[in-house]
């Protein structure tokens, strides 16, 4: 016992017993953390990477997802296959059948490590990762998902909540704005509409025109600053935001005053 402080009876039994009793009563008369799994489930987080899904309407069959896959578990397979061909499709190469046939990704989930590279590199956003995680199967072949089974419609996928990680949002300088609506065309999340105004403007050429100004919906703005880059009149600039304004709780007219 060469420690600084002599360990007494309080440290040995009394204080630990307080913690144990507190936890026991908390989980006995409250609710334990364990959920009854098959009957009640816990929602995975919004950015959870589960089973892949491919939006066939957006997929252009470029095969980049198969190129970037670290485990080589993703292959491009023809879409039109009979059931017998479907069973053998994973192991054979289909170079002979490739001509004039559309190809879509098929995934062997026995090798997949859910890194999400295919989703990141997809040029059209067709490859997505859902929150479906119950992939267990009784045999190894059951884990090979053919191309047809990965197909989803665009409407079936739930939209992710958009978060402004940049902590910046565009602010409009009303005087130089010419109402060209280029920002509306280029906004990736469609958070801008030409709704403010109309106001009378005197242009450089001397004419007076009644123009509408853009209105920003900050609840779905992701702070990408695309609108600032495309603005021809330099009337937009990025300003740091507080948390309250990103949550859509700011006042209506506050944005146009700046």
């Amino acid at each position: 016992m060469s420690s600084d402080r002599e360990i007494g009876i309080m440290d040995i039994i009394v204080n630990p017993m307080k913690v144990t009793l507190k936890q026991f009563f908390k989980s006995t008369f409250g609710k334990p953390t364990t959920v009854m799994y098959p009957l009640e489930r816990r929602d995975p987080p919004p950015t959870y990477r589960g089973m892949n899904a491919v939006i066939w309407d957006l997929c252009i069959g470029c095969g980049i997802c198969g190129e970037v896959c670290p485990n080589k578990c993703l292959k491009m397979k023809p879409t039109e296959l009979s059931d017998e061909e479907q069973d053998r499709a994973w192991y054979g190469s289909h170079l002979a059948k490739r001509k004039n046939k559309a190809e879509r990704p098929a995934i062997n989930f026995g090798h997949c490590m859910f890194c999400g590279f295919c989703e990141d590199y997809c040029p059209t956003g067709a490859m997505t990762m859902t929150d479906f995680y119950e992939l267990a199967d009784t045999n190894r072949e059951g884990l090979i998902y053919p191309a047809r089974s990965m197909k989803v419609e665009l409407e079936d996928l739930p939209q992710l909540p958009l978060t402004n990680y940049m902590m910046e949002s565009p602010v409009l300088d009303v005087d130089p704005c010419i109402g060209c609506s280029k920002c509306v065309d280029n906004c990736p999340t469609n958070c801008i509409i030409m709704d403010e105004g109309p106001q009378n403007k005197t242009l450089k050429s001397g004419k007076t025109r009644n123009v509408e100004n853009p209105y920003f919906d900050y609840t779905i703005c992701i702070g990408c600053s695309t609108c600032v880059k495309v603005c021809p009149a330099d009337c937009l600039h990025m300003e740091p935001i507080s948390n309250s304004s990103s949550s859509g709780l700011s006042e209506e007219g506050a944005t146009t005053e700046a």
Partner: protein, 411 residues
């Protein structure tokens, strides 16, 4: 009506109407040859035969009650441990099967306590038992096969033997030996021999360290344990559990409150609780099977039903230890009238067991040198102080009070 007289009546009925006719029939089957069946029928009519049969019934009843309590203790341990760790513990029960069947058949469940299949989970014990029985019994290639099979027999038989030794009440006792508690402590002390045997015969370094630790532990806690019990024996003047409990029932405190032994002998009670924890090898004194240091201690090489019986025997020893503590210090089956004394006894035993479960999930395991230091330097002097207090109470204080009352007459 005591348990033994009930068993005696049952034995008489069984002998008269079932056993003696059967043996007589067997004796009449082959008259030319010498047949022991007739002798057995004659023996069953005598007093000795009936007594033997009655003991058999009594021991079986005590064994069945002990095994039922064993299942409840294991289940309590698992559920409380789960709650302390913020889990739910075993949930499978027979009601779950019914609701599952109704759900699979497509019917909406007819009655639902909650919106899920959660039960108490008593069926998990059956599942564990079936699983352990169906597993293979592995004997290591270089193990000492005779001792490897003898170790479990010594440990488990000495533990199961404990079940019939303590009475649930003065009328519900399978055995009524005058030296009852001494026999119980003797049966407790056999088990480390089995532990040492198993650990040595497994031919495994972890098993052997576990067995040696068991022997080292025995040396440290056994003497303070028996010395702390000596105070109770001095007060009651007997080793018989019935006499000890009657003494506690009769002695009163302020306002006629019962003075159970843990009030005057509080030091002895503390020493006994620590030592009996070491005796039944529960945390924090589970040095022989320290699963963090030795793999599973002395049970590393055992599998199947042997391993399950080891675990069961440990819980039996825990139950018996709590029962001994109840008899010695907590007044045994003494309690207010409308509740039967057996229920009072089991209630106290379960309170002690729940306290032990809380201790198990609270404190860390202590080292071998620490338990030796604790046993010899702290618990032994404390138990001697306790004996001094008891001697003062029993021998000196009565004469002192007599002298004090006599003083005015002298002067």
């Amino acid at each position: 009506m005591s348990l033994f007289s009930f068993c005696k009546a049952m034995a008489e009925w069984t002998a008269d109407y079932m056993l003696i006719p059967v043996f007589n029939f067997q004796a009449g089957l082959f008259p030319p040859f010498s047949n022991p069946a007739g002798d057995i029928a004659d023996w069953l009519e005598t007093d000795g035969g009936l007594n033997t049969l009655a003991w058999l019934f009594a021991v079986n009843i005590a064994f069945a009650i002990g095994m039922t309590n064993l299942i409840i203790v294991i289940h309590l341990e698992r559920k409380i441990a789960a709650r302390i760790q913020d889990r739910r513990g075993p949930m499978l029960s027979l009601r779950s099967f019914r609701e599952l069947g109704e759900d699979l058949a497509g019917n909406s469940p007819s009655w639902r306590f909650k919106q899920n299949y959660a039960g108490i989970g008593i069926l998990q014990n059956m599942a564990d038992g079936i699983k352990a029985i169906t597993k293979e019994l592995i004997i290591p290639a270089k193990a000492d096969k005779f001792l490897f099979t003898m170790g479990p027999i010594i440990f488990i038989s000495s533990s199961v033997f404990l079940l019939v030794l303590f009475p649930l009440s003065d009328r519900f006792a399978a055995s009524s030996a005058p030296a009852g508690l001494m026999v119980i402590m003797a049966a407790f002390s056999i088990a480390p021999i089995g532990v040492l045997t198993s650990g040595w015969a497994s031919n495994n370094k972890y098993s052997m360290i576990g067995g040696m630790r068991s022997a080292a532990q025995l040396m440290s806690y056994e003497i303070p344990l028996l010395l702390s019990m000596a105070g109770v024996f001095l007060l009651a003047g007997s080793f018989d559990p019935v006499t000890i409990v009657e003494q506690q029932q009769q002695s009163t405190w302020f306002f006629g409150l019962p003075m159970w032994n843990f009030i005057p002998q509080f030091i002895g009670f503390i020493v006994f609780m620590i030592c009996i924890l070491a005796e039944v090898e529960r945390v924090p004194f589970d040095l022989p099977e320290a699963e963090a240091e030795l793999v599973e201690g002395w049970t590393t090489e055992y599998s199947g039903i042997r391993y399950m019986l080891f675990l069961a025997a440990e819980y039996i020893r825990g139950f018996a230890g709590a029962a001994v503590c109840t008899i010695l210090f907590l007044g045994g089956w003494a309690g207010p009238w409308p509740v039967p004394p057996e229920v009072w006894f089991l209630l106290k035993v379960y309170l002690i067991l729940i306290f032990w479960i809380f201790i198990r999930w609270t404190v860390p395991r202590i080292r071998t040198d620490q338990i030796l230091e604790l046993g010899w330097k702290k618990l032994l002097p404390l138990s001697l102080i306790n004996i001094l207090i008891v001697i003062f109470m029993v021998e000196i204080y009565p004469y002192l009070s007599d002298t004090l009352t006599l003083l005015p007459e002298v002067f």
